[in-house]
């Protein structure tokens, strides 16, 4: 056992000491932060008009005359009065549109906007908004109500909070946030299974091509070496995650102070973290990361042992990664919309797909018995794959120059010690 610890130590330290590891620790949270920022900017930007629009108002009702507010990108013009001649006039000019308001403007779809290209959504939204406001004030005046008074009375801001009824008492279910958390977890697990599984595989290939394998397994059993490597790399993964979570939390906190305005993306993100059962999700995340990693890393190690170079791994990688890829694609497209569908339930039970599928479901709090079964199956599965992989591994690492196939690997499995 002592020797496994030594191997774990070496595998861990050689990776953690690498410059690339240290750089990654800082780069990833920064990337996340920058990406969040960019998304926020883009989202805000798409609400606004990017080019100047001139709107010629032809108001037959008399309610809207000179009442539109100009802003940076919209100018309202009241010079034209005849729709037909205005249309002729503006036939070929871009960025100019005609807003025609008939006398009976309250009738549905009676207000028309003409332009060379279809009016953009932000433009028509803005006009609609302003018209509603103007018409509303007009109505108020008609009924002798002071619009200023009303707006001071009206200053309330109600947003809907969806509550689920359950045995444990009512709980807030923020559906959008749950989706985001679930998908984020699934993507993270999916990527990390590949990244760290791949590291295990490359480590095995390295030992084999360096021919150090024979020296090492004259000192320890192949199984000890494989186990030490898998655990060592797994700990590297955990270290990286912990560092990312801590740094990201710190970064959002710092960023949160400077952009802490309601409605901003970062503020929402902070709120999400406060409202979800963070500990529970994190616990599940760590469990599914570890068990999924152990399951796949063993298979990756077996593949690494069977080949002489990384280029030969393709044919073996495909069947291993297929279920994962399949679940991943389903997760980000379908599963999060229907987290309790039979497909989602089944995928979250099958150990090869569970780490991704279950993480999508976790924020929606699936039944406890399902989580329990899924977790038990995960543990059984990684013990099983580790056993199978170790039997292939012990033969594979000493095989050189032989082109391995699945048939060959099956034979290795049945070899005696």
């Amino acid at each position: 056992m002592n020797k496994v610890l030594l191997i774990i130590q070496r595998e861990y330290l050689t990776r953690v000491r690498k410059k690339s590891f240290i750089v990654m620790i800082f780069v990833v949270p920064m990337l996340i932060l920058v990406m969040g920022f960019v998304i926020k900017l883009v989202a805000e930007d798409s609400d606004k008009l990017s080019t100047l629009e001139t709107v010629n108002v032809i108001d037959k009702s008399g309610v809207f005359d000179h009442k539109f507010r100009n802003d940076k990108n919209i100018k309202f013009n009241y010079a034209l009065t005849d729709l037909k001649s205005a249309k002729e006039l503006l036939k070929n000019s871009e960025g100019i549109s005609i807003l025609y308001i008939p006398p009976d403007y309250l009738q549905k779809d009676s207000v028309q906007i003409f332009s060379k290209k279809k009016a953009s959504l932000p433009l028509s939204d803005e006009i609609e908004k302003q018209m509603n406001e103007i018409a509303f004030s007009d109505n108020l005046l008609k009924h002798h109500i002071d619009p200023a008074l009303l707006s001071s009375i009206k200053k309330t801001n109600i947003s809907l909070n969806a509550i689920e009824i359950s045995d444990k008492g009512d709980k807030s279910a923020n559906i959008g946030q749950n989706m985001i958390i679930g998908i984020a977890c699934a993507i993270f697990i999916y990527l990390s299974l590949f990244i760290y599984g791949g590291q295990v595989m490359r480590g095995v290939i390295e030992e084999k091509t360096n021919r150090i394998i024979e020296v090492v397994i004259s000192s320890v059993k192949p199984f000890q070496l494989m186990l030490g490597k898998i655990i060592g790399v797994g700990l590297v993964g955990l270290t990286q995650f912990s560092a990312w979570i801590i740094l990201s939390a710190m970064a959002t906190k710092i960023a949160g102070h400077s952009f802490n305005t309601p409605g901003s993306g970062l503020f929402n993100a902070l709120q999400v973290i406060q409202t979800i059962p963070f500990g529970f999700i994190l616990g599940c995340f760590i469990f599914y990361f570890l068990s999924g990693y152990l399951l796949y890393a063993a298979l990756f190690a077996a593949v690494g042992s069977a080949v002489d170079s990384e280029t030969e791994t393709q044919q073996f990688m495909f069947p291993i990664t297929l279920p994962l890829l399949f679940t991943y694609i389903l997760s980000v497209s379908v599963l999060f919309r229907a987290p309790d569908s039979p497909l989602a339930v089944w995928l979250s039970m099958i150990p090869f797909t569970a780490p991704v599928a279950m993480m999508v479901r976790i924020p929606f709090e699936p039944p406890v018995w399902q989580i329990a079964i899924s977790m038990c199956l995960m543990i059984a599965a990684f013990l099983f794959t580790t056993y199978v992989a170790s039997r292939i591994y012990r033969v594979g690492v000493l095989m050189y120059g032989k082109k391995a196939s699945f048939k060959e690997m099956a034979k290795w499995f049945f070899y005696k010690e």
């Binding site: 360096n210 021919r211 020296v215």
Partner: protein, 305 residues
């Protein structure tokens, strides 16, 4: 020291070892000889517990081979290799610790060896920065650092330049003098006669010869002698007590290779020669291990044993 009994190892397509038994005595330098693919490496891997035999047993110091013996054995595989990106000092210590040494002890011994082999400045270097010969030297150190009782070397001289090969040879002899038993496989027959106390010859998974080098060579004597004489050239008429294999005429002497006829001994040669010529030299031809190796392997291969 090491007793290998009736080892059989079968791989999918072929048999690597069939019923191989041999004894390595404590303090011996034992040579494991055989052509490529004979099963030497398979046997060495079994002794190192890298693989297990299908049947048969290995005893180490009288005990059945088990995991606890790993720390008493040092192994230099034929295919050398170390972690390329790891610093050499750190790597040596790691390998020694896998063999059960403490970090402090490993460090102390490593310092000794580095000084001894002129490698002091290498400590912080990565393996990939070293030349192939330097890597081999480092690997040799890794093999013997934990002061094993049994040192197993698979083709130890391949890959070394003559200077370093000599250096390693001297180190092997010194370790042997200090009490280590050495088992090594090789093709280089000259090193066998120079180094080995005993050998085993393996061909096509069978052991076809083993024993002390001296005994083997003696048992392969076939009453052949070299004679050098001066004087008048003898015209052999068939009445001499030997058969002439070949003759060579030197500047002022003649050399003949002769095979003694049955029922005679070397004195009879002298009796025949002394009245006729002046004998400069009479020397028995003892076959070299190389000749025995070739002969045995060819016999074995053609199936006329």
């Amino acid at each position: 020291m090491l007793s290998i009994r009736n080892i059989v190892k079968q791989y999918a397509g072929h048999r690597a070892l069939s019923d191989v038994s041999l004894e390595v005595e404590s303090g011996q330098i034992f040579g494991l000889l055989g052509p490529n693919g004979a099963g030497k490496t398979s046997l060495i891997r079994i002794v190192n517990q890298i693989t297990a035999p299908d049947s048969g047993e290995v005893y180490f110091k009288g005990e059945k081979l088990n995991q606890s013996h790993i720390e008493r054995i040092g192994y230099l595989p034929e295919e050398r290799g170390l972690y390329k990106k790891m610093e050499i000092g750190e790597q040596m210590i790691y390998l020694a610790r896998l063999k059960g040494l403490s970090r402090a002890e490993a460090q102390k011994r490593l310092k000794f060896w580095f000084e001894k082999l002129g490698m002091e400045t290498w400590w912080k270097k990565k393996i990939e920065e070293l030349s192939k010969g330097m890597q081999q030297k480092a690997q040799f150190v890794a093999t013997v650092l934990h002061e094993p009782d049994l040192i197993i070397l698979d083709e130890p001289f391949s890959g070394f330049d003559p200077v370093n090969a000599e250096l390693i040879k001297d180190e092997i002899l010194e370790l042997n003098k200090k009490g280590a038993t050495i088992l090594f496989s090789t093709h280089r027959m000259e090193s066998v006669e120079e180094l080995c106390d005993a050998i085993a010859l393996i061909n096509k998974s069978h052991k076809i010869l083993d024993g002390k080098v001296k005994h083997i060579r003696n048992s392969y004597r076939n009453e052949t002698y070299f004679v050098e004489y001066a004087g008048e050239q003898i015209i052999f008429d068939g009445n001499q007590p030997f058969e002439v294999v070949n003759e060579a005429i030197g500047d002022d002497s003649y050399t003949i290779k002769i095979k003694l006829a049955e029922g005679h001994n070397s004195n009879d040669i002298l009796h025949y020669l002394i009245p006729r010529v002046r004998v400069n030299m009479l020397q028995e031809v003892i076959p070299s291990m190389h000749e025995i190796f070739i002969e045995k392997v060819n016999l074995n291969t053609t199936g006329h044993e």
